[in-house]
């Protein structure tokens, strides 16, 4: 079970459940408020005004109205959460355990870092599973575009993956936790707002672009290699 050490660390902490409950409450409220906005919007187009032609107004499609905004909201949550999660990966206790593991088994530094990266992504994965209840609720009233949802979920997981790999070099460099969170936050917010946010717009609307997906993977790999070098040099030089 050594492989899931990070998992056990976090899933056995009450703080995780408290934060997850807060996330779900916020996410639920966002969904609810979007639903209210949608019903308000529909009241602007009663049937007797536009007749059957109201259906031609594609911008009032519930799937296009609700889910992109909900996933945009998730992306902001990820931007705030990833720096904190990634910065905690290099803390003293984990570092000592990693050191022991590296000396005792055939595990390489790169696989250890990838494991840490996947751990950050899987936290979001676990957090997003309960959010499937929203489309299920919606499917009671109207057909849900599951393809659009799939692409949005792919988008948020890729975003978490990319931002986590961006934060891991600083997270593993064993500097003060607060400084590390601060540096990562600055890095993530600046890069997200000015470079990455527009990349994900297509995902929210159901389109998975090959170039963007490749870019995310390559970009993340580059940071992984960089993180590995930092990790190796930290271990060698203390």
């Amino acid at each position: 079970m050594r492989t899931f050490r990070e998992f056990r660390e976090i899933f056995n902490t009450p703080a995780f459940y408290i934060l997850a409950a807060i996330f779900l409450a916020l996410s639920g409220y966002k969904f609810y408020s979007l639903l209210i906005s949608y019903t308000d919007l529909l009241s602007m187009y009663p049937d007797y005004i536009f007749g059957t032609e109201v259906k031609q107004l594609s911008d009032i499609d519930v799937n296009k109205f609700l889910f992109p905004k909900l996933f945009e909201f998730y992306s902001y949550m990820i931007v705030v959460a990833v720096p904190v999660l990634s910065s905690s990966l290099g803390h003293e206790r984990l570092y000592e355990l990693d050191k022991l593991e590296l000396s005792a088994s055939n595990v390489t530094e790169l696989s250890l870092i990838i494991r840490k990266l996947l751990f950050v992504c899987s936290i979001f994965f676990v957090l997003f599973i309960p959010t499937l209840i929203y489309p299920l609720f919606l499917s009671v009233f109207t057909p849900v575009d599951w393809g659009l949802l799939l692409s949005s979920y792919i988008g948020v997981i890729l975003l978490a993956f990319m931002l986590a790999s961006l934060c891991i070099p600083v997270g593993l460099s064993r500097i003060n936790f607060t400084v590390s969170v601060f540096l990562n936050l600055v890095l993530v917010i600046a890069t997200f707002v000015y470079f990455f946010e527009p990349l994900f717009s297509s995902f929210w609307f159901g389109i998975v672009r090959l170039s963007i997906t490749l870019f995310i993977v390559v970009f993340s790999l580059a940071f992984l290699f960089f993180a590995r070098r930092i990790y190796v040099s930290t271990r060698i030089f203390g």
Binding site: F11, P14, Y17, G28, F31, Y32, L35, I36, M44, P46, Y48, I49, G51, V54, K55, D59, D61, V62, N63, K64, P130, I133, F137, F141, T142, D145, G147, L148, L150, S151, S173, N176, T178, V179, F182, V186, A190, S201, S202, W204, F205, G206, V208, R209, S211, I212, L214, F215, V218, F219, L221, A222, F223, F225, R228, I230, S233, T234, I236, F237
Partner: protein
């Protein structure tokens, strides 16, 4: 206390760093402030946690730098390669549309037009300040359009963050408001209200081809294009010219030289010879209002259109419940002339019309008021074009579409071939909304919390054992 002060200091740094990007007008000053801040930060950290800082700098630039160097080189190479990847055309256009109806995919007619586009155009979305921001939708849509043409570029603009740029644009395009988009091509520009594939592509085609000049019949009591009073037509003139349609006032002697002739709410009868001129007129005649005048009634009857009773005020329109007076158009037929007509069309009063070989376009729930026929578009509502009634967004769209499509009817025909089924609409009762609120916001997170308590207790008891 020390930690709190340090935290506040870090937050100040974060604020300054973000300000560098979000306030381009003050960038140099903020960069200077940020450099000063970094010096202060260095000094603060040096005296608070000296050893940590030194070890951190050594970790980067010290002996281990040699060890890091290959990693940095590989990293730079990979990042460069990934940026190149983003710009390879074949990769750029390869995508997977997972939606049921391809809701954001570009129609074949638009794609065809964009592939033939040979002029550079820039689409700028002015982000709304108080209203709903559709930035993501705009970006996703523009990315789709860019798949078909390298001549299309886009960006978004925030009226507060990019104040100077916004005011420069506003000086050029006076009727621009946040939430609109502007299309620039050389010296030409055009404003659009509703974000959508067809709307943007049409606007691009308009801006590339330059302004349309429409003859505006004058001398029969039409609103004056320079008059800003409630009865004037200055707002219509200004809004249409920002959208690429220039109204050019003409007297009856020049009617036959015009490809499109627009009558907006005439209040004085035209003469007998002018009626004949209109009958013989070969271009496209757009008649808004004036149908209560005997001369126009006569002209219309010769065209096979009869004017029936006066329309009563309609108050049942929910969207305009606060508005007192006026006839509200509430029935819209499926026609490109009505694309983007949103928020209702309101007129002071109107007449129902009847025509056997006309194409019905719109009306009130019990009468037809707007129709099309070869060489003629007729709207039987009165005062639609005056400054007072131009405040209703639908009125501008109605006039704009009527003039735009009249000038080049073949243009709109080419954009109508793709038709989607439209979204499924639904309504949720307040009771269900309450249930959703309680389940999603309270019940579900609480359940997760209880699950956490259970997991935590279990792991604790295992540890104790």
């Amino acid at each position: 206390m020390k930690r709190i002060l340090l935290m506040l200091f870090y937050l100040l740094g974060l604020f300054l760093f973000i300000s560098i990007f979000i306030t381009p007008e003050y960038r140099y000053r903020i960069i200077l402030a940020f450099v000063l801040y970094l010096v202060c930060l260095f000094l603060v950290l040096k005296y608070t946690s000296k050893n940590e800082i030194i070890s951190f700098y050594r970790s980067i630039f010290g002996a281990r730098f040699k060890n890091l160097l290959p990693g940095i080189i590989v990293f730079i190479l990979i990042v460069t390669a990934s940026f190149v990847l983003l710009n390879i055309k074949q990769l750029k256009t390869t995508k997977l549309d997972l939606t049921n109806k391809g809701s954001i995919s570009v129609s074949s007619s638009s794609a065809k037009y964009l592939e033939q586009l040979n002029k550079d155009v820039e689409v700028i979305y002015v982000r709304p300040v108080n209203k709903e921001d559709n930035r993501s939708y705009f970006i996703a849509l523009m990315e789709e359009l860019r798949d078909y043409s390298n001549h299309v570029s886009y960006r978004t603009l925030h009226p507060i963050i990019n104040t100077l740029e916004y005011s420069r644009l506003k000086n050029k395009v006076s009727s621009l408001v946040p939430g609109n988009f502007v299309i620039l091509s050389g010296e030409n520009y055009l404003v659009g209200e509703r974000l959508g594939e067809k709307e943007i592509v049409r606007s691009i085609s308009r801006v590339v081809n330059g302004d349309i000049v429409v003859c505006y019949a004058k001398g029969n009591g039409e609103p004056d294009l320079n008059d800003f009073s409630e009865k004037g037509g200055a707002i219509m003139y200004s809004m249409l010219s920002d959208r690429g349609i220039i109204l050019y006032p003409v007297m009856s002697g020049d009617w036959n030289k015009c490809p499109v002739l627009f009558f907006a709410d005439p209040s004085i009868d035209i003469k007998e010879d002018e009626i004949n001129k209109l009958i013989e007129y070969k271009g496209m005649l757009v008649l808004f209002g004036g149908v209560e005048l005997a001369s126009f009634k006569k002209f219309l009857s010769k065209k096979g259109i009869s004017i029936l009773g006066k329309q009563k005020m309609s108050f049942k329109d929910y969207a305009l419940r606060d508005y007192e007076g006026g006839v509200v158009l509430d029935t819209f037929y499926d026609h490109p002339l009505l694309d983007g007509v949103k928020g209702g069309v309101v007129t002071a009063y109107g007449y129902s019309v009847d025509c056997k070989d006309c194409r019905p376009l719109a009306g009130t729930s019990d009468a037809l008021m707007y129709l099309g026929k070869d060489g003629l578009v007729l709207f039987a509502g009165e005062k639609t074009s005056t400054n007072f009634f131009m405040r209703f967004n639908g009125n501008l769209r109605l006039i704009y579409n009527a003039l735009f499509f009249s000038f080049a009817p073949e243009a709109y025909m080419s954009f109508t071939e793709d038709k989607s089924d439209g979204p499924g609409l639904f309504a949720i009762s307040p009771r269900y909304l309450n249930i959703i609120l309680w389940v999603c916001v309270v019940g579900f997170p609480l359940l997760f919390l209880l699950f956490g308590v259970y997991c935590f207790k279990k792991s604790k008891s295992l540890k104790l054992k």
